[in-house]
Symmetry: C2
Subunit: 346 residues, 2 copies
């Protein structure tokens, strides 16, 4: 029987960009088709994409880098790639079978041929929303887990600050910190998000950074004794203010700097001398270095999810055609919670 | 018999300063006297100061801080304090006797009454120059030792960069790195210092940063494969250039930022995003946290000094009256090697 050949809508980057990205920098291509069978003798898999993840690091991939960056640049005219949740349609790989649910790097399209299925994670628990594997149970969840528990090395009772705190990673860091018995404050860019932090995620305090004319004063208000742990998602002026408020032997886990990604030149950070005066460790990390911890992470967090100790808020765009706007919205702070795109519900 | 009362010259800070310090911000006071006997019942000691240490961190103490800094501000009109090598003249403390040689915090004066002699280190080895206890065998030596071996966590064969590399700390870091089998490059502010780095301290390469119009290009020239370890003594533009050239999982030990101490506002550092992309650990440290390692350090380094495996260059000013100029010279980069002041030879 000949394999089905079906239409395959996809989102491509039109050209490399500088500055703030626009929806029109991407394009929905509807003219492609795909054969739903892996080539003879190949160990690839064909997947149907269900959920796609919009993540800040993707901005870097939209620009051309002269030297290789930490993630490869997108290729203009080719499908955008990113994390997603998918169902295996056909497999030439002994570890995967049709019907398997997986998460990992896939394409912003309806069906993807994945030639390195070893990079995919099989989904074990399906009694939780499958979309969680783009966030809570996927790359952002593992990021929050290793960033907080390993890089921040938290101790009960410490003072923790999280920026972009209602985002895919931040909302989890705050909840992990509360479970550890820390005092936790988050910053976010709208009153709605601040409300979520305090009333949904259990942060002790939260503030809307856009309403603060003096970030240093804001931090002093919430941390009169200083900050032990800063989970850094934004960079720039917030980082500068945090540095002035760190306590002795404080730790900063640098996860992202979303406020800087669309600037021609990043803002200057002036207060690094405080890292010496206060003996602060500032450490950048990338989650790919910690994939070996994924199973440990899932086994640890699944019971917490089932028992309602950990909650998660998602912001869902319906349909591949809305994916470009969803991604751009991330840089405008339009998303409330983890931004994802539904390509198909099953 | 009545205790001798002798003249006691001292250097005082006249007023708190901002910006670049001047010799005339300090004053030599010759009108004081001191009684060479500790008060009855006191556990203090009286010391005769032999060598005084000029250290960059002292700049911070010359300004008034609204919030307590990591080192206390000097008190205008009172004697300047700092590290020095001294001989005990009289002691009310059971652990110290007249004739003991010590190093630790003392006054910029001929004789000092030290009310907390527990803070002093007794000098055990006197077959090396006593002045070394202001540098190689004192605070700067321990700083280099813990900063390199503990904070930098070096591995054989790694690429190491040291700024202010001919200074009290830098010259040692480079030699430690060479003893570990690392490739070591140093930067300094004169051709004389560059020559010293290459021909006296055994750095693989060295450059005069004042002759480089593009620090990023200079670093790329010496580190085509990037930097594993940066021992940070200067901050500002050099740090910014280094960040762009760090290798994956690189470490930066932030010891000082002398280029920034006399600025009204520190320069902005723009390239912190590289700490994420390259998973770099940037860690500030202060040597006082490591005093418990001092004996281990001395026992380890004394044989290396005796065998000529470690060498040390000092820049010596003769006489207390030349101490203010020696301290100011540090911020102008006039010193070649560890800057110290001889108050008395015995």
């Amino acid at each position: 029987m000949a394999a089905a050949v079906v239409p395959n809508k996809k989102v491509v980057l039109k050209n490399y960009i500088t500055g703030f990205p626009k929806e029109t920098d991407m394009e929905l291509v509807t003219s492609d088709t795909v054969r739903l069978k892996v080539p003879e003798g190949s160990t690839a898999v064909i997947v149907k994409n269900l959920f796609l993840s919009c993540d800040p690091y993707m901005r870097s991939r939209m620009s051309k880098h002269d030297e290789p960056s930490y993630v490869p640049d997108f290729i203009p005219g080719s499908v955008i790639t990113g994390f997603g949740v998918s169902k295996v349609v056909d497999s030439g790989h002994p570890d995967f079978s049709a019907g398997d649910l997986v998460w990992g790097l896939t394409g912003w399209e309806e069906y993807s041929l994945i030639t390195n299925p070893e990079s995919l994670f099989k989904i074990k628990y399906t009694d939780v929303p499958l979309s969680y594997y783009t966030g809570l149970l996927g790359m952002p969840g593992l990021t929050a887990y290793v960033g907080f528990y390993e890089i921040c090395a938290p101790k009960t009772g410490e003072y923790v600050f999280v920026s972009a705190a209602s985002g895919a990673v931040g909302q989890l860091v705050g909840q992990f910190a509360k479970l550890m018995g820390c005092y936790v404050v988050g910053s976010a860019g709208s009153d709605e998000k601040v409300n979520l932090l305090k009333n949904k995620f259990g942060f002790d305090e939260a503030f809307n950074y856009k309403k603060e004319s003096d970030l240093n004063a804001a931090l002093k208000r919430y941390f009169p004794e200083g900050i032990d742990i800063y989970f850094e998602n934004v960079g720039g002026a917030m980082l500068d203010a945090v540095l002035r408020n760190m306590r002795i032997h404080g730790r900063i886990a640098a996860c992202g700097m979303i406020s800087q990604y669309n600037l021609e030149k990043p803002e200057g950070v002036h207060n690094l001398m405080y890292t010496i005066m206060k003996r602060v460790r500032f450490e950048g990390f990338v989650v790919v270095d910690y994939y070996h911890k994924y199973n440990e992470f899932v086994e640890k967090i699944i019971p917490d999810i089932r028992e309602g100790k950990i909650t998660y808020v998602e912001d869902t765009a319906e349909g591949l055609e809305n994916a470009p706007a969803a991604l751009i919205g991330l840089f405008k702070g339009l998303n409330v919670g983890k931004q994802l795109v539904v390509v198909a519900h099953e």
